[in-house]
Every structure is written in C-alpha cells, then in structure tokens.
C-alpha cells in the first residue's frame, strides 16, 4: 500500500513535468496545479511514514521532507527557466536529472541509499553526502569553464564587430563625404563602367 502511493506520486510528478514542457504556453496554470498536486503528494509520502510509529520522531522524516522540497525547488526552477527560455534544454537536462535523483532519495531514502552504498561501497551517510557535494562541485566547475569559453567567444565577436564597423565607417566616409585626407581619396572611376 505504501509503495502504491509512492508510485502514484511519482507518476503525477512526471505528468506535471510533462505539462510544463508540452503545454508551457497555453496551459501554464494547469502545469502549476499539477506541481502543487505533486507537492501535496510529497507531504502525503511523509504522512505515510507517520503510520509507522517507529519513524515518528526520527530525523529521517524531516530529512525526507527537506530533500523532497529541495528536489521540487530544483525541478520547478529548472522547468520554469526553460519555459521562459532562459535556459537551454541541454543544460536543463542536467538539472532535471539532479532534481529527480534528489526526489528519488526523498521518496525511497532507504533503498536509494542502499543502492548507492552498493554502488560505491561507502557505508556511511556522510560519505554519500560527500559524493553528492562533489557532484555539485563538478557541475559548478563545468559552468565556470563554460562561462570562460563563452566570454572568450563573446570578446572575439565583439572585437570583430568593432573592427568591421570602423572599416564600414571609413568606407562610407570615403564614398560619400568629402575626403578628409586628399592622399587617400579614391581614384576617379574608369569611364564606361557605370552601373
């Protein structure tokens, strides 16, 4: 029963994400409603844990709530940024993936943790946190590099524009205005070449 609600919640969240992507222009309110529903479901997940009396006072419950909210924050901000065309899809993919992984940890903390421990051989939660932190660090590093490259390219383009504009100005001054420097005045056009 517990798992059934979990799966239902995931499906609804995915559906609301789809709403965002597909009907992002016309039915933005519907997507928002879907996301709200997802948030409600996250609350339900944690509510389900309440039925297990042993976990009532455990810090795990709070942790699930916090990670759930965090994942939602990441997902909503990402999807909204894509919707407003502030973020390209190729970068959004990374953040949607991150949000979904965090969500996974919020919904199935034990099994996700067990999987990660099996995968990395790490036994402690702190080690897992270090892995996650390292991942985010790498993401930030990647972005710094992208930004530097972008600035290089921007500088190149901007300089090219400035040079071309100066050249254009000089050409126009030569053609239209009175020549400022008589030495550099264009030679008279050869006869019979009028266009």
């Amino acid at each position: 029963m517990n798992y059934l609600v979990d799966v239902l919640g995931i499906l609804l969240i995915l559906a609301s994400g789809l709403f965002f992507v597909i009907w992002r222009k016309r039915l933005g309110w519907l997507a928002r409603a879907g996301l709200l529903l997802g948030i409600v479901l996250i609350v339900i997940f944690t509510g389900v844990t309440l039925h297990d009396p042993g976990s009532l006072h455990s810090p795990e419950l709070k942790l699930r709530g916090v990670t759930g909210l965090l994942s939602f924050l990441v997902l909503i901000v990402t999807l909204e940024a894509v919707r407003r065309t502030r973020m390209r899809e190729r970068y959004a993919l990374l953040w949607v993936g991150t949000g979904l992984v965090i969500l996974l940890f919020a919904i199935f903390p034990r099994s996700a943790m067990a999987w990660l421990q099996q995968l990395t051989g790490m036994q402690y939660v702190t080690a897992v946190v270090v892995v996650i932190f390292g991942f985010l660090l790498l993401v930030a590093f990647h972005i710094s590099i992208m930004l530097s490259r972008l600035q290089d390219n921007q500088g190149r383009a901007v300089r090219r524009i400035a040079l071309l504009e100066a050249r254009l100005e000089a050409l126009e001054a030569k053609r239209e205005g009175p020549p400022r420097n008589p030495v550099s005045a264009p030679p008279p056009a050869p006869p019979g070449r009028a266009s």
């Binding site: 921007q154 500088g155 300089r159 040079l163």
Partner: protein
C-alpha cells in the same frame, strides 16, 4: 623625428572618459597632426564615442563592455590589419602626457625592444595615489621582476609603445582583466624584449579610475595568480618572437 608618425598608431582605450578625452585628443592633434589616433570605446554609457569622433579620432566601438584587456586586443587587431608599424597606447584620462610619446618611440627604436613601458618610478620618487596602492604596485613590480628576470619598476603603467611584433602577439593573446603586468610577463616569456623608460605622469584630468580601493586587492591577487600560472604554462611556440617574425613576415 617625423618618420615614425606616418606608420604609428596611438591607441586610447576609453570607458566613460568624456570628461578628459576631448582635450587629450586636441592636445595630441596639436602636437602631432599626422599621427593616426584610434579610440577604442569599451561600451561607454556616456558620450565618449561621439566626443572622440568630433575630435577627429577613429572610433572602434565595442558593442558591450569587455574590460581593458579585450579593448586593447581590439586596438591591436586594428593596428595589425591596418599595417601600422608602431603602436602607442595611453589612457584616455589625460594621465599620460602626449608630449612624452616621442620619448617612448625613441626608446623603442634605440633599445631594440618590442615593448617600451613608460615608467613613473624610474628616475624620480613619484607617488601613485594612496599608500596602499603604492605598496601594491611595488609588490607587483617585485613579483613581475622575478617572473621576467629583469627589473620592472612600473608594472601597471598603461603608457606604452609597441612594435609590430609585440602588437601582433597581444592581438592574438591579450590577457583579459587587467592586462598590463601580465602582458609584460607573457611577452618576455615568449622571447620578446621589454624595456622601460622614465616618463612623468600627470594627475588624472577627469573621469574615474577603473580600479577602486576595494578592487585593488582583487587586482593584486588576480594578477599575482595570473603571473604564477603563466610561468607554469608551457611556452607557446606558435607565438614565439622568432617564429612570429619569420612566419608572419613582420
């Protein structure tokens, strides 16, 4: 004396310099009527490009702000494509007296250097603003002297004369943010020769320094990091002085 005027270009990087630029350009025009002058406008918000045009300078207008490094790079690219043989650069705030330009060019000719830096600190005890700033410049000078294995007294001076080789190199790899010290280090590392000549600076005639007091620390740290990392980087053989001289026929 006037032989160099025909193939020299005076580059003035300018960002919001409307206060002093006009009088500076008039002064240059009065002293050296034949000298080509290009103002590289780094996306100013004021009337800098209009003033530059009105006072007879060619304007290279960057559509957005790139910082001094990108601005100078645009200027060097322009100088190279236009075939100028010497490039002088000075600031647009009137700090660098144009009357000293012949001195720089004479040093460029006589010393055989590729870059001549006009130094405030060579023969007199000049003073650069606050104590903090002065100390910062001295520290930077020591670091840069160590990196270049030659004595550099005024690493942040933007009053320079370059020949075609150095201009070509900087047109291809100009350091980004605060380029003066780092470009000296890069040039010496790539086999170019740098020397200094004593020049008296004036007080700034208008406008704001691009480096406030808080930025000075960032400046010092950034340049120090850049100097260390440049030493760690391999020499780029494509831009070594002799190769540039041969390959590009400069």
């Amino acid at each position: 004396m006037t032989a160099w005027l025909n193939d020299s270009l005076l580059l003035i990087p300018a960002y919001n310099e409307e206060a002093a630029l006009g009088s500076l350009l008039d002064e240059v025009r009065g002293l050296f009527p034949a000298l080509a002058v290009a103002v590289v406008d780094d996306g100013s918000e004021d009337r800098t490009p209009e003033i530059a045009r009105a006072h007879g300078a060619v304007v290279l207008g960057l559509p957005c702000n790139l910082g001094v490094g990108g601005t100078m790079q645009a200027g060097f690219e322009y100088a190279i494509t236009r075939g100028y043989r010497q490039v002088i650069r000075c600031d647009g705030d009137g700090q660098h007296p144009p009357a000293e330009i012949p001195k720089l060019l004479a040093a460029l000719q006589s010393s055989g250097a590729d870059l001549v830096v006009g130094s405030r600190f060579l023969d007199e005890r000049a003073y650069a603003g606050t104590i903090l700033r002065h100390a910062g410049i001295r520290g930077l000078a020591a670091l840069l002297s160590a990196a270049c294995r030659q004595r550099i007294t005024d690493p942040t001076s933007g009053f320079q004369a370059l020949n075609r080789l150095a201009a070509f190199f900087l047109a291809r790899n100009c350091p980004a943010d605060y380029p003066e010290p780092e470009s000296i280090a890069l040039l010496t590392r790539q086999g170019y020769r740098v020397c200094e000549t004593a020049v008296a600076f004036r007080a700034r005639q208008g406008g704001q320094s691009s480096i406030g007091n808080r930025m000075a620390l960032y400046y010092a740290l950034k340049v120090a990091l850049a100097l260390v990392l440049d030493r760690a980087r391999a020499v780029d053989p494509r831009f070594h002085r002799e190769r540039v001289k041969g390959d590009w026929g400069l």
